[in-house]
């Protein structure tokens, strides 16, 4: 038992500390930023009043309780910290559970004189320790922001117990499904569903602008994250949600252990789905394959960004209806977000928000394009390129896949945003938002093009370099002005060249599109001249 546990600890010596320390650091930074950004009680009242009137903001944040600092911290950060700690625990459970079985390591272990439950119990101990360490660090993080002691302990413990509940979800998913991919997938989806349920419940809830409170609608009550929010840490300090989430964790973990004790090695409650015995006619050529591999991911990106688009519509509409005359501080914040001195805040906000959508589309495109490298390093590119498929056609298929991904994500988001504006009676903004969304395309194509180029030139570094350049472009694009970076450096980011509608000078946009095509061409040429590298 001890030996098994130590071996699991050793395997996790890098990954788990990154999750625990990273989440605790996120919590600390987030609490500290609330202190600096929300300002004094008056500032907090202003911001929370706006938030309570804006369902889109409520869905992204949570429930406040008065104008205290603790109320703002709980409102701002509890839900997304619960998601982070939930994901950490799902992956912890599947990494040492189903993954071990699938890779055959568990078979090796169980041949030793240990009980069938030993590895599962060892992982449970590991999870208890990891979440306990997190709770301690989280408490310290809250205290460092000057928050009350009881609330700090409560919020930290609530997060840790939520983590354990999702550990139970991951463990049970590993008993149900036969593959790590499926088990992690089920776990991640359930974490996101828990977040989405409370997002819907909070958005549809009944706000009280006088007391600055929110009574969430029924969907929040279906989610353990929704329960955790009911702790109202730092203000009312309810402990019953911790007991409720704890009971859920016990039930889930016990169920997983019961199944595990009765299950054969490698078996699963749900049999693995079989595939078709022959291929559909559409599965042909390198693009047919690339599309077949990528469309489920593309669907996820599209749905996610379309939801964001819908939220943008109602967010900007809510902001535009506010009267900023007696709130110059907030107007200044929103204007600085838009990097503009336009007086019409909503109009200024739209381009800034759409650049975020544009970089999401670019991320989806870069990921689709990097599938080429995944295929090459797994040795499957060799199989295709030893058939009558040219290098040019193969790599271009992935470049086209990246471009199609960008186009689909942008179009879906643009239409969703337009629908959001149209629904709130702002037809002018509907067209403007669709247009502002679509003009992101050349910049996003440029990221796809650069990814093709690194794939052609430096295959082994392609994944790191592709994402690294993307990250650099985003950071320079978003924060270049704030960080006062030199102008030539700022101009290197494609995001800086996205026009703001209405626009007269299309030169830079066209140039960006031409550059995107040119780097793709260079990448393909380089790929034709090099060896395949696994």
């Amino acid at each position: 038992m001890i030996a098994v546990l130590l071996q699991q600890v050793r395997r996790d010596r890098i990954v788990l500390p990154i999750w625990v320390l990273g989440t605790a650091a996120l919590l600390t930074v987030s609490a500290a930023s609330v202190v600096s950004e929300y300002g004094d009680a008056e500032g907090r009242t202003q911001i929370l009043t706006v938030a309570l009137a804006t369902p889109a903001l409520l869905s992204l944040r949570g429930i406040p309780n008065g104008d205290s600092l603790g109320s703002a911290v709980h409102f701002q950060s509890f839900a997304f910290l619960a998601v982070t700690i939930g994901l950490m625990n799902v992956f912890l459970a599947t990494r040492h559970g189903r993954a071990d079985e699938e890779k055959g390591r568990r078979e090796l272990l169980l041949a030793a004189p240990i009980s069938r439950l030993t590895p599962a119990v060892a992982t449970l101990v590991l999870a208890l320790v990891a979440n306990a360490v997190f709770a301690v660090l989280a408490t310290l993080g809250y205290l460092s922001a000057g928050l009350p002691t009881e609330g700090s302990v409560l919020s930290a413990v609530a997060l840790a117990v939520t983590g354990l509940a999702f550990y139970g979800v991951g463990a049970l998913a590993g008993e149900l499904t036969a593959t790590t991919r499926a088990a992690s997938g089920v776990g991640v989806v359930l974490v996101l569903v828990a977040y989405a349920l409370r997002a819907a419940g909070d958005a549809l809830g009944t706000p009280d602008v006088e007391k600055l409170t929110l009574e969430p609608a029924w969907p929040s009550w279906l989610s353990p994250i929704g329960w955790g929010q009911q702790t109202l840490a730092f203000t009312a300090d309810h402990w019953w949600p911790v007991a409720a989430i704890g009971a859920l964790a016990v039930v889930l973990i016990a169920a997983a252990l019961v199944v595990h004790a009765r299950r054969e090695l490698g078996a699963s409650l749900l049999p693995e789905r079989q595939g078709p015995a022959s291929a559909r006619p559409t599965l042909t050529g390198p693009f047919g394959l690339a599309w077949r591999l990528q469309w489920p991911t593309l669907l996820a990106w599209t749905l996610g960004s379309a939801l964001l688009g819908l939220a943008l519509g109602s967010l900007v509409t809510a902001v535009s209806q506010l009267d900023f005359a007696d709130n110059p501080q907030l107007a200044a914040i929103l204007q600085s977000l838009g990097h503009t001195d336009q007086t019409d805040v909503a109009r200024a906000l739209l381009p800034a928000l759409m650049v975020i959508v544009g970089s999401m589309a670019a991320a989806a495109g870069v990921q689709a394009t990097l599938r080429a490298r995944e295929e090459e390093s797994a040795g499957r590119a060799e199989t295709l390129l030893s058939a009558p498929v040219s290098r040019l056609r193969w790599l271009l298929s992935f470049a086209v896949l990246g471009a199609v991904t960008v186009a689909v994500v942008l179009l879906a988001t643009g239409l969703a945003a337009a629908a959001g504006f149209a629904a709130s009676g702002s037809d002018e903004f509907a067209w403007l938002s669709l247009g502002q969304c679509l003009v992101q395309a050349p910049a996003a194509f440029a990221f796809v093009g650069v990814t093709v180029l690194v794939m052609g030139l430096l295959p082994r570094a392609a994944v790191g370099l592709g994402w690294g350049l993307f990250g650099a472009g985003v950071v320079i694009g978003y924060f270049g002005q704030v960080l006062q970076l030199p102008e030539w450096l700022q101009k290197l980011s494609p995001l800086v060249h996205v026009p703001e509608l209405p626009n007269d000078d299309w030169g830079p946009t066209i140039l960006l599109a031409v550059i995107a095509v040119a780097v793709v061409a260079l990448g393909v040429l380089a790929f034709r001249r090099r060896d395949l590298e696994t």
């Binding site: 991919r181 595939g275 394959l289 077949r292 499957r380 390129l385 009558p388």
Partner: protein, 306 residues
């Protein structure tokens, strides 16, 4: 006979490692050519150069008279290839993968595909990620055989197959050979090469050290004898061309160089023979003579690898 594959003095470097060091390989139309060598000898690298996946640093290569680096697509229209380490798409079923790979070359022959899946006892509905190594190999083999090609290239095709499946594989190779196809088969499994191949090239450390028909290569090797004879051990051991002579249960056991067979036999019959078994050299032994020296005399290079 037309030459299908011609490689002369191929060299290929990976960083500081010299993977191919002047390798020669000639494969004629219609033959099953064995490409033998231990792991790391450069077999897979050679095959990848022949397919235009890697670019040689030196030497010349032609496949169907074309340069594989420049004319890969034209060459590949007539080639079916099964890599040594088959990786499948985790989400695609075996059947989908077979159809997809065959479609890249023009589409599978439906009757042939059905017969092959049956012969290889493959479940085409399983997902790529849940196949074992042997089953992944079967998927790639069915995809290769399901559409006729002029040249089949197999890189260690049976390393994951059981003996029954190996015989199915052999039957398919014989079938395509009868249809006039050329086959290049890399292996370190000697029995497979012995049973299938017309000609063999043995590679070692990036160089072809022997090439020829099985008979020609046997000429270079020793035959094992087990004899009951009046001759003394010392007398037999002293004959030229006799190696490793010893006495076992009243019999003399020794190996004889191919070139000295006649003289040794003559000497033996003069002394009187009451029982004799002669075992032809297996490729195993032939192989050991080329690579065994590393074990026997690690300090020296292979003096007998002429």
């Amino acid at each position: 006979m037309t030459t299908v594959i011609e490689a002369q003095s191929l060299t290929k470097r990976f960083g500081r490692t010299l993977a191919l060091d002047g390798l020669d390989l000639t494969v004629s139309e219609g033959e099953v050519h064995g490409f033998l060598g231990p792991n790391g000898a450069g077999k897979s690298t050679t095959i990848r150069v022949l397919l235009g996946l890697l670019r040689a640093n030196g030497g010349t290569t032609t496949v169907f008279g074309r340069d594989p680096w420049k004319d890969a697509v034209a060459i590949h229209r007539d080639v079916a290839y099964v890599p040594g380490d088959v990786t499948l798409w985790p989400n695609l079923s075996g059947g989908e993968t077979i159809d997809y790979l065959a479609r890249l070359r023009g589409g599978a022959d439906a009757a042939l595909r059905a017969r092959l899946i049956d012969a290889f006892q493959l479940d085409p509905r399983k997902k790529g990620r849940s196949y074992s190594k042997g089953n992944r190999q079967k998927v790639a083999l069915v995809a290769a055989f399901a559409r006729p090609a002029k040249l089949y290239i197999f890189d260690e095709p049976t390393s994951g197959l059981d003996p029954v499946m190996e015989s199915v594989f052999r039957a398919e190779v014989e079938r395509v050979q009868n249809d006039g196809a050329t086959v290049l088969l890399s292996s370190h499994i000697l029995s497979e090469v012995e049973q299938l191949c017309d000609r063999i090239t043995i590679v070692r450390a990036g160089r072809a050290v022997e090439t020829g028909s099985l008979d020609e290569l046997r000429h270079l090797t020793r035959t094992s004898f087990r004899v009951a004879t009046g001759a003394s051990l010392a007398r037999v051991a002293a004959l030229p061309g006799v190696h490793d002579a010893r006495e076992e249960a009243g019999h003399l056991v020794f190996d004889v160089d191919g070139a000295e067979l006649e003289r040794v036999l003559t000497a033996l019959t003069r002394e009187g023979v009451t029982s004799l078994t002669a075992t032809p050299p297996s490729l195993e032994e032939l192989f050991l003579r080329h690579y065994g020296d590393r074990i026997a005399q690690p300090a020296e290079g292979g003096s007998d690898a002429a």
